[in-house]
Symmetry: C2
Subunit: 484 residues, 2 copies
Amino acid sequence: MFRNRMPRYEILSEDAMATLDGGWRRLVSEIGVEFGDERALELFRRAGQKVEESEEGAGIVRFDPDFVLEQVAKAPRSFDVQARNPANSVHIGDDAMAFGAVYGPPFVREGEVRRDATMDDFENFARLSQGFGVLDSAGGIVCEPEDTPLDSRHLDMTFALQTLTDKIYMGNVVSGVNAADTLAMTEILFGGRESIERTPATISLINCNSPLRWDERMLEAQFAYCEAGQAVVITPFLLMGAMSPVSIPAALAQQMAEALTGIALSQLIRPGCPVVFGSFLSNIDMQSGSPCFGTPESAVGLLCTGQIARHFGLPVRSGGGLTSSQTADAQAGYESLMTMLPTFLAGINWVMHSAGWLEGGLVASYEKFVLDCQVLEMLQHEFTPLEIDEASLAFDAHDEVCHGGHFLGAAHTMERFRTCFYRPFVNSSDNYDRWMRGGGKDAATRAGELARRKIDEYEPPPLDDAVREELAAYVTRRRRELGD
Amino acid sequence: MFRNRMPRYEILSEDAMATLDGGWRRLVSEIGVEFGDERALELFRRAGQKVEESEEGAGIVRFDPDFVLEQVAKAPRSFDVQARNPANSVHIGDDAMAFGAVYGPPFVREGEVRRDATMDDFENFARLSQGFGVLDSAGGIVCEPEDTPLDSRHLDMTFALQTLTDKIYMGNVVSGVNAADTLAMTEILFGGRESIERTPATISLINCNSPLRWDERMLEAQFAYCEAGQAVVITPFLLMGAMSPVSIPAALAQQMAEALTGIALSQLIRPGCPVVFGSFLSNIDMQSGSPCFGTPESAVGLLCTGQIARHFGLPVRSGGGLTSSQTADAQAGYESLMTMLPTFLAGINWVMHSAGWLEGGLVASYEKFVLDCQVLEMLQHEFTPLEIDEASLAFDAHDEVCHGGHFLGAAHTMERFRTCFYRPFVNSSDNYDRWMRGGGKDAATRAGELARRKIDEYEPPPLDDAVREELAAYVTRRRRELGD
């Protein structure tokens, strides 16, 4: 997996960090955070925090900030998530960066066609995620298969992730029931509960209903995963202007308040449970109310978020290839990089939405999936430290070529020409005539063709027949029980 | 103009810098640098450097590296370039960043049409450069007007830059004659030689015929501009694999050797003459030989270049919106940003090719011009330091909204909604239905429409009639003298 050994780009001064620190402390102690689960309230109550019932089964917790930090300190600085192919296991934290595909889109775009996503699409995106080495995971809901029954869809998706890929996958979080199913299937795949408690085999997204509210269903999933020692990504969901104030510092302080209290809960459920400081931070267009992605504000927020998570000694999730654009056009290209490059600068550890995101996350795009993998490969090369030593100066090549010549045939070049530069797989640098002879195809068209080819040529990773049958039997049984 | 008050992203260790330092010293002293101008050789000879004649009027100079640095130390750390509208004068150096349009393309692309550039196009791009506030200059050869006579073309281009814009412009460097004409026309526009010697009114690109050769014609132009105290951008032209070895450190050492010796010459011509440490550094595709832009290697080179120029206390030119792509597609979007974002991280002072570059610089694109201006505006907002203080935490807004609500109607939001976020002018975040009702246009299409509208709505900046007539008379007379 990729290790980012380049320097971090940090823009918060000590004073700024202290101000933000004061901000989240005031929020959690004065405004408090709402939790929609009686078990959570009971844990906080027993730990001495002030709990005030807000509605049936929900309450507002006013925290001692130092208590929150004491809990946060129990979380590991980094941890592993095991894949069924050990070569694909990932490390989350430190200088490691792991990349998962887009998460959640109800629609799919392929060429000029935009339509409801299907299970076929889900499986195709799982195949692409398996096929691109630059991705560590298909993620979880790489698209919402709208042609499958809602109540048992999580079984189909988990089965697809487990069988079509041998990389890590995310757990379903729609409810405690779904989380329990994911865990049961994960136990089958990894040979029992003990194995996955020793090293987590899922990483799951727990979103805050920002501002300052953790809802019942997400908390149910969080309890299930944390009790099993599975990794959770505790993520404030902040579109500034809607879920947070229209000020980046305010959003950052809120993000700290929400993430840190959610992480504190995870440590009360199971001390030492692996967690990730999550961030999903952008802004809306204040005229239309539309969410915007790849904005200057989101990039700044991302840079700060990396630094803030390190301040607390936590792995961090943020970034991705985010764009508001409706097609895989120039805007999609630069907006996505406007998020993805700061993702590397900030040293983000778990990068969701790394491939395929389009139209504010409503659409999973085949073309964009390939283009994003292209950009990821470029960035991984870019963020690999240069080796600068005497030999790298290639004095002999200069001695051979001297003044006004060229290096095409120099011995130094001939020895290295195959590997000296990163070779892109979808970018074109053809001259105009050659490009026209090839059909004059733009990047999205070439990417779409490559996606199809990759899907056609896909070969499933090996899986023990008995395990596959046990998983399939589980899906069949549970689907029946769920009435689908 | 834009000041980049964000931190620099520096990736060279002291050891690495010392190794590179050893590299250029060895190159200039052992291999030497070729100069194709007897006046240059004479200056170096008189200053005690070893000069060996290589061919008629040319010679290889083997330098004492410390002598080179003594000359370099005479160059100003920063300087101003005056525009005829004083509000558009620019500062080159320190934390200032100035942006000029694409330089040199013989072709133009508008929509699906790619054709020879014309004087009409040149004037249109000058109008666009005037119209976009984010650009400090149209640059120089915003495209090559192929429908005008070669020998007098520089007169038409300079006249267009002087009259259609009131921003700074670059001087013609094709020959000493062209440079003299540019200077004469600049003296007319700025009221005499004394005015432009006091504060330079042109900035001109002097390219090295890399590796390690400064050619006669470029040197003629350099002599003309330096003698007049005009700014020169001393630029190694390095496509690794062709003009330099296939190793980034080797290219960086070569870039130092070429730039520093060219700058030393400028200081011998006129001590204190304003100079810029130039860089044009990318790589070729080793299979096809095509130049590639927006590559990981070029981004790394760019980050190092900013740091190296600061090491020598010199303003630095690099970066831009470079891409190999043939159209304004997703590849063009991300490759351009792959160069432009590091341009900001590296704190580049003079950014050529900031708008309109397509197809490896062979094409000036109307659509890309607008898209690049869009990206530049976004980056300028991104690279503006956050103010983080108690007020920015917007505690009152949280107190008003509390848990699970939204901030759309909060007092804090209402007071700030017009200016709180950067508003893009060509990006779309419309929802799908609205976007389809608007024609379902991709970013390039919208950009092309905006380019046309800007050109149609263009109003020329005021210019004294007598000055305009004197400039026109000069062009007419010189064109006749040049036989066109």
